[in-house]
Symmetry: C2
Subunit: 343 residues, 2 copies
C-alpha cells in the first residue's frame, strides 16, 4: 500500500513529467512549494516507488519517469477532476450551436475541435449499428444498363451506390420495384434492413416475376457489400509534433498504423460503455507502444452508436483530456438524440 507521501510524490512526478517530458529528479521535487522534505527523503520514497514499479529510470543515474503501471495507477486513482477553462467550454458550445444537419459534418467538426483543443490526434468511429430508420429508397436509372441506388435515413444520412441493371429490366420495372420496396420498408431500422430486404426479395419473386431476382441481388449487394467503416480524423499530424516522436522510425510505423483505417477501427471499437483509457503496451499494437488511447462512446438513447477516441503519447494530459472526451461524447449523444426524437 502506498503512503500519503508516496502518493503525493508519484502524483508530482507524473504531473511534472506530463508538462515537461523530462525525467524528474529528487531535488526538483523537494524544491516544490508544497513539499517540505529534503531531496534525500524524496530519494528514498522514489526508490520505493521504483521497487513497486510505478516509476522508472531512463539510466542508472537519471531522474525518474512514470512507468506504464504508474500511469495506470494515476488514471485509476490520482486524476484530479479537471475544470475546463471557460475558453474551452465556449469553443465546444460554439461548435454545437452552429446549425449542422448532417451526421458527417457534426462528427467531423467534433473531431477537429477535439484535436485542436488537445493537440493530440482524434479519431471518431462512425455509427455501425444504425438505430436509424429507412426514410426512403430511390433508384435512378442512368443508362439502360446502369442505375444508382440511394438510401436515405430519418437522420438525413445518405448512402448511394451505382449498379448494373440486368438487360431484361427497364426503367418502369425499376420504378415498380422501388415503389414496392418503399411501401414495405419505410421506417425499418437499418440494422434489420438487410434481412428484411432478403425477405422482400423472396416475396416479390413469388408475387411478381422471376425477373426481379437478379436485379434485387444487385441492389442488395450495392447497398450492403463492403461498406467500410468510416473514420473521421482530426489533427492527424498533431501527434507527430510530440517530443517522444523524434525518432524517424517511430513516426513511420505509427503513421502507417494511423493510415491503416481497418486496423485503427479495430483498436478503437469497443463494446464497453463509457470511457476507457488504454496505456502504451495495453494497446495490442507495436506501433502504439508509446501511445495512449482514450475512447468514449456516444449513443442514441440507450443504444451505443460509435466511439470517439483520442490518440496521444503515454505522457498525456489525462485529466483534462478525459473531461473533454466526456463532454464531447455527451454533446454528440445529445445532438443525435434531438434528431431522432423529431424523426
Amino acid at each position: 500500500m502506498l503512503s500519503e507521501r508516496q502518493l503525493f510524490v508519484l502524483q508530482v512526478i507524473i504531473d511534472e513529467f506530463i508538462q515537461t517530458a523530462q525525467p524528474i529528479g529528487s531535488r526538483a521535487i523537494s524544491k516544490k512549494e508544497e513539499i517540505s522534505y529534503s531531496s534525500a527523503t524524496i530519494r528514498n520514497e522514489m526508490a520505493d516507488l521504483e521497487d513497486m514499479g510505478f516509476i522508472e529510470k531512463t539510466h542508472s543515474s537519471s531522474g525518474r519517469v512514470p512507468s506504464e503501471k504508474g500511469y495506470r495507477f494515476y488514471v485509476d486513482h490520482l486524476v484530479s477532476p479537471f475544470r475546463l477553462s471557460t475558453e474551452d467550454l465556449v469553443t465546444i458550445q460554439d461548435t454545437f450551436e452552429r446549425e449542422m444537419l448532417e451526421f458527417e459534418r457534426v462528427v467531423q467538426k467534433s473531431a477537429t475541435v477535439l484535436s485542436d483543443l488537445t493537440n493530440y490526434t482524434s479519431i471518431i468511429l462512425g455509427p455501425e449499428v444504425f438505430e436509424t430508420k429507412l426514410k426512403q429508397l430511390q433508384i435512378i436509372p442512368l443508362t439502360p444498363q446502369t442505375a444508382v441506388a440511394i438510401l436515405v435515413t430519418n437522420t438525413g444520412h445518405v448512402e448511394h451506390r451505382s449498379f448494373s441493371v440486368p438487360v431484361e429490366l427497364d426503367a418502369s420495372d425499376l420504378e415498380k420495384m422501388v415503389n414496392i420496396l418503399n411501401d414495405r420498408l419505410h421506417g425499418v431500422p437499418l440494422v434489420e434492413l438487410h434481412d428484411k430486404l432478403l425477405t422482400e426479395i423472396t416475396y416479390l419473386i413469388r408475387t411478381y416475376t422471376k425477373d426481379f431476382e437478379a436485379s434485387f441481388q444487385y441492389l442488395r449487394a450495392a447497398l450492403f457489400d463492403e461498406q467500410p467503416v468510416k473514420l473521421y480524423f482530426g489533427g492527424k499530424t498533431n501527434i507527430l509534433m510530440q517530443p517522444e516522436f523524434k525518432d524517424v522510425n517511430k513516426i513511420r510505423t505509427l503513421y502507417s498504423m494511423i493510415e491503416e483505417e481497418e486496423e485503427m477501427a479495430r483498436l478503437i471499437r469497443t463494446n464497453s460503455d463509457g470511457l476507457k483509457v488504454t496505456i502504451g503496451q495495453e494497446n495490442k499494437s507495436v506501433a502504439m507502444q508509446d501511445c495512449s488511447l482514450i475512447t468514449a462512446t456516444y449513443s442514441l438513447g440507450d443504444k451505443q452508436m460509435g466511439t470517439i477516441a483520442l490518440l496521444g503519447p503515454t505522457r498525456m494530459e489525462y485529466s483534462r483530456v478525459i473531461t473533454l472526451l466526456n463532454v464531447l461524447s455527451g454533446q454528440l449523444s445529445k445532438t443525435f438524440q434531438s434528431w431522432y426524437q423529431n424523426g
Copy 2:
C-alpha cells in the same frame, strides 16, 4: 552546349543516383561497362558539369549528386522512353477491367494503384468543372423542419445536403418545387446549374408564390456553398519511407503540408493540359523543397476534368513514373468517356 560524353555522364550520374541515393564518384562511373574512359577523364567532365550547374558536391571531396537544374535537364532531354513491365501493365488493366460505376471508386482505385506501383504518394484532384449533367434532383423531407436535397448526375455522381425548411412550407410544397425543377433542369450541365437555378428561382417566384423564395435559397446554398475540393490519396506514407526523409522536422513539415488539403489542391491544380514535372524549389512551398511533383490531367472529351499527381523525392524514377502517369490518366479519361457517351 553539352558534349555527347557529358550528356552520357550526366545521365549515368542521375540514373545511378535515382537508384542508390548515394553520391556518385568518378571511379564508379569509369568502371561501368558502357564507359571506356578513366576516372580522371570522368573527373574532368564532372568538373565541367558542376561548373554548368547540373551536378553538385555534398562536400568538397564527395561524389556528385544531381542538382535541380540537373534533374530539370534530365526530364527535359534525357528521359528515355520507358517500357513498362508486363506485370505493371497487367496490374493497371486489371484495375480498370473490374466493373466500377462510380467516379469516387474509380479515382480512389487509380490513386491506390499508382502509389502501389511507384512507392510514392499519389494525389488525384476530383473534377471541378462538371461537364456532367443533372439527371435528377430529389428533396426528401426528414422532419417538418428539415429535408435532404439529393442531386444525381448522368455519371452516377451523387451530392447531398441537409437543409432547414421554412415553417410556411409543407411536404407537398416541396414536392411541387422539386417537380418543377426536375422538369426544367433535367440535362443541364452542372457548370450551368447554379446560374440556371437562380433563373428558375425568379421564375418560380413570379409564377407561384413568394413562399418558395426562402426555401430555394436554402436549397441553392445547400448544394453549392462551400463545396470543398475533393482529393483522393494513395500511399500517403510511402514518401516518408524514402531515405531523404530521415530528418524528423522534414517529415513533420512535409506531412503537415500533405494533410492541408486546400494547400495541396492549390499546388496540384493546373490549367495546362498534359503532363508537367515540378522539381524541388520549383514547387512554391518550403515543405516540398526536396520533392518533385508530377501532374497529368485527365479529361472528358476535350474538357479537362481533373489532375492526377504523384509526389516523390526529387530523386524520382522520372521515366517510369511519367509513363505510368500518362497511361493512367489516359485510362481515366477513357473510362469517363465511356460513361459519358452512354449518358
